[in-house]
């Protein structure tokens, strides 16, 4: 059986990569993907702890996160399409007025 530590470390690495990409990437789509990556890193941690503690609470949270992430993807992609239409670009540095 794989020790819980490994999951936690993997989760931390994935989360760190997500943060790194979120900060340094310019393409909105990539940033969006890095958010998904962070969410899933957290999901992994939840599942790992759920397994280690023998409780189902963590897995329930994971299901919630997946649902919210799906909803968020819908809204987020909608916004991205609007930005792409209005600005003809997906570079976040050109989108800094907090409005379209």
């Amino acid at each position: 059986m794989v020790p819980t530590n490994y999951y936690i470390i993997l989760s931390a690495i994935l989360f760190g990569l997500g943060v790194f990409a979120f900060i340094f990437k310019r393409n909105i789509i990539t940033i969006f993907m890095s958010i998904e990556l962070m969410l899933n890193a957290v999901n992994l941690a939840f599942v790992a702890f759920s397994q280690a503690l023998g409780k189902l609470d963590g897995q329930v949270f994971v299901l919630f996160v997946i649902v919210v992430a799906a909803a968020e993807a819908v809204v987020g992609l909608g916004i991205i399409i609007l930005i792409a239409r209005n600005r003809q670009t997906l570079n976040v540095e050109r989108v800094d007025l907090l409005k379209l």
């Binding site: 943060v19 979120f22 900060i23 940033i31 976040v92 540095e93 989108v95 800094d96 007025l97």
Partner: protein
């Protein structure tokens, strides 16, 4: 009338209020009517009150009208009292005040702010009457400050003139120094005796033992503090500097406030507190020495002044010194006597000087006058009488009072100190005669030194001449109360004030005769002194007019020192005014106010603005920079939790 004594001060207050409020829109004659009738009625009421008081035969008539301040066992009421000292003061203030009001009608006729002038002048009368009628120190202090206020307003009457408004401020500020001492004196008296009411206080104080020379007990300290107030108000060394500058005011003001009445308030306070002063030999000696030194010092400055009003101003300072000398040697009667005669002849001198200035079209410098005697005869005659009076030529008023002072000084115990005081007083008498006759000769005699085609010399109207004549009569006859004393008769003035100051110890018959002989000899000496002054002035300014200039040239250092008034103003400027100005400008204004207080207030505002400005840049709108902040925050929180668990517990505790 005695029951309604408050009417006497109230009438001028009413006049002041009416003229102050309505006068601006009125023609001058209504203003005149209000001012003259209010003071005139006040004078009549005072006369009636005095008649009732003297007929009743009581020593003191006291009436409490209402309580003004009550706190714990302290009570200060609007209490007025009349005794014989008050009677003298009240009649001098209302009588001379009224005459000067009449004079001012003519003198101020063409001035702008005519109503303002009379409003202030009536206000002054109100406060002065409060001062002399007050039955406790607190109410007296109200009058004391009130006359200071009116004095300030009237000195600065021509406030568009910088020198006039400066002189007003100087008078007010210098008086403030004295008033500080006066208040401390009052506090000390209240602490010691628990009351500031004259009657109670003096009764209590009378039963205390007197303090010997060199002993600084309550009486000495309290008296010296009160005397400090008196030196401010009555222009004695070292606080006399404001009075000569006060001549910037209109001449009737100089006559009423800065010669006849207000400046004598200090003498009045010392005389009123004679019970306290008599308990302290030290304080008495200080009063006598300061008075004598001032009398001599101011007289020397008066020798060389060229402005006609400045000569009279220094003369006033000098004569006030005489009054304090009298009080200091215990001759309060003589001091008050001189106060009264001085009020007559000095008011007359000022009014006559005003008439001269009026005739010359505003010129005040004596070197630009000369030969006026033939053209303005009334002014000349009355001013000559006043000069004889102040110089101490018998039988004019000043002779009797000055003689009484010098005699009392000579008699008050033996010792070098007293003899020095007497000699200085006598020298001051010589100087007085000299500078007064110098004034007369320079102004009225000799050849005209002005352009006769340009200056149209004219006699003043009757409204101005009338008061001159009345005051001239008083200057002649005002001293005759003391006349019988010269023929071994009773001294009416001393007897009149006897109930206030206590009868002098009865002298044995033989000693009295000896004393009388001494008095006659001393009178002769005093008259001789005056005649010497007259003769020197005559030689220098009539017989040989060039000689005065030669003398001035040959004694140049002394002459310039006197002309610059011993550089006292410069000394004060260097020792007090400039350091104070520096301290105020640099420490209080620039360091404390601008840098400290404004700096703190503005600094907080600037700090908030600067922090906001700094933080504003974090709100760049760039989403990724927000992310960096979020991450950075998360890292900090994690770091704290890992490396500093105790702090994180505290932080969590706070959150909870």
């Amino acid at each position: 009338m005695l029951e309604y004594l408050w009417i006497v001060p109230l009438l001028p207050l009413l006049g002041s209020a009416i003229n102050g409020i309505l006068g601006a829109k009125w023609p001058n004659k209504y203003v005149t009517l209000t001012a003259i009738s209010s003071t005139g009625l006040s004078f009549l009421c005072a006369l009636e009150a005095v008649r009732e008081f003297l007929e009743s035969g009581q020593a003191l008539s006291r009436k409490e009208f209402f309580t003004w301040i009550a706190s714990g066992n302290f009570r200060a009421g609007f209490d007025l009292q009349a005794d014989r000292l008050t009677v003298v003061m009240m009649l001098v203030v209302t009588g001379v005040g009224w005459l000067i009001h009449i004079y001012a009608i003519g003198y101020m006729a063409h001035e702008r702010g005519y109503y303002r002038f009379f409003s202030y002048l009536n206000l002054f009368m109100f406060f002065m009457l409060i001062l002399v009628l007050a039955a406790n120190y607190v109410l007296l202090f109200v009058g004391w400050e009130g006359v200071g206020l009116s004095s300030y307003l009237l000195i600065g009457f021509w406030f568009l003139k910088k020198s006039a408004s400066d002189a007003g401020k100087k008078a007010f500020i210098v008086n403030r120094i004295g008033d500080f001492g006066f208040m401390l004196g009052m506090f000390l008296l209240f602490r010691t005796f628990g009351t500031l009411d004259f009657q109670t206080l003096f009764t209590k104080a009378g039963s205390w033992p007197a303090e010997p020379m060199g002993h600084f007990g309550t009486f000495t300290v309290a008296c010296l503090l009160l005397f400090m107030g008196a030196t401010g108000k009555s222009a004695q060394l070292p606080l006399y500097v404001w009075l000569p500058d006060a001549m910037e005011g209109p001449t009737p003001v100089s006559a009423l406030i800065h010669a006849a009445t207000m400046v004598t308030a200090g003498v009045y306070v010392v005389a009123r507190s004679h019970v306290l002063f008599s308990h302290s030999s030290t304080a008495m000696l200080v009063v006598a020495m300061v008075g004598c030194a001032t009398a001599f010092f101011a007289a020397t400055i008066g020798l060389v002044q060229t402005d006609i009003k400045k000569v009279l101003a220094y003369s006033t300072v000098s004569q006030l010194g005489y009054m304090f000398l009298a009080c200091g040697v215990g001759a309060f009667t003589a001091g008050i006597f001189h106060l009264m005669t001085h009020a007559f002849f000095k008011a007359l001198l000022f009014l006559a000087a005003g008439s001269v200035i009026h005739a010359m079209g505003g010129e005040q410098e004596m070197p630009k006058m000369g030969g006026l005697g033939r053209k303005i005869k009334w002014t000349y005659a009355t001013m000559f009488i006043a000069t004889l009076a102040i110089a101490g030529i018998p039988p004019f008023a000043g002779f009797f009072s000055k003689d009484a002072i010098l005699f009392a000084t000579f008699q008050s115990g033996a010792g070098d100190r007293i003899r020095t005081l007497y000699v200085l007083g006598l020298l001051a008498a010589v100087l007085t005669a000299f500078y007064m006759f110098r004034l007369i000769f320079l102004t009225f005699h000799g050849k005209p030194r002005y352009d006769e085609h340009k200056v149209h010399v004219h006699e003043s109207p009757w409204s101005m001449r009338g008061p001159l004549v009345v005051l001239a009569i008083l200057s002649v006859a005002g001293g005759w109360f003391a006349l019988p004393a010269f023929f071994q008769g009773p001294d009416y003035f001393a007897n009149f004030l006897g109930p206030v100051f206590g009868a002098r110890e009865a002298v044995e018959a033989g000693a009295e005769a000896a004393a009388h002989q001494l008095e006659l000899i001393l009178s002769g000496v005093a008259v001789l002194a005056s005649l010497i002054g007259l003769a020197v002035a005559y030689r220098l300014y009539i017989k040989n007019p060039r000689k005065a200039d030669d003398l001035a040239r040959s004694m140049k250092p002394a002459y310039t020192t006197l002309l610059n008034k011993y550089y006292v103003d410069e000394l004060y400027a260097a020792a007090v005014v400039r350091p104070l100005l520096w301290l105020s400008t640099n420490v209080f204004w620039k360091a404390t106010d601008v840098a400290g207080i404004d700096g703190t207030v503005n600094g907080i505002a600037h700090g908030a603005a600067a922090i906001g400005d700094g933080l504003r840049h974090s709100q760049s709108g760039n989403t990724r920079s927000y992310a960096v902040w979020v991450v950075a925050g998360a890292i900090v929180v994690l770091a704290v939790i890992f490396f500093w668990p105790s702090a994180s517990k505290i932080a969590l505790g706070l959150v909870r």
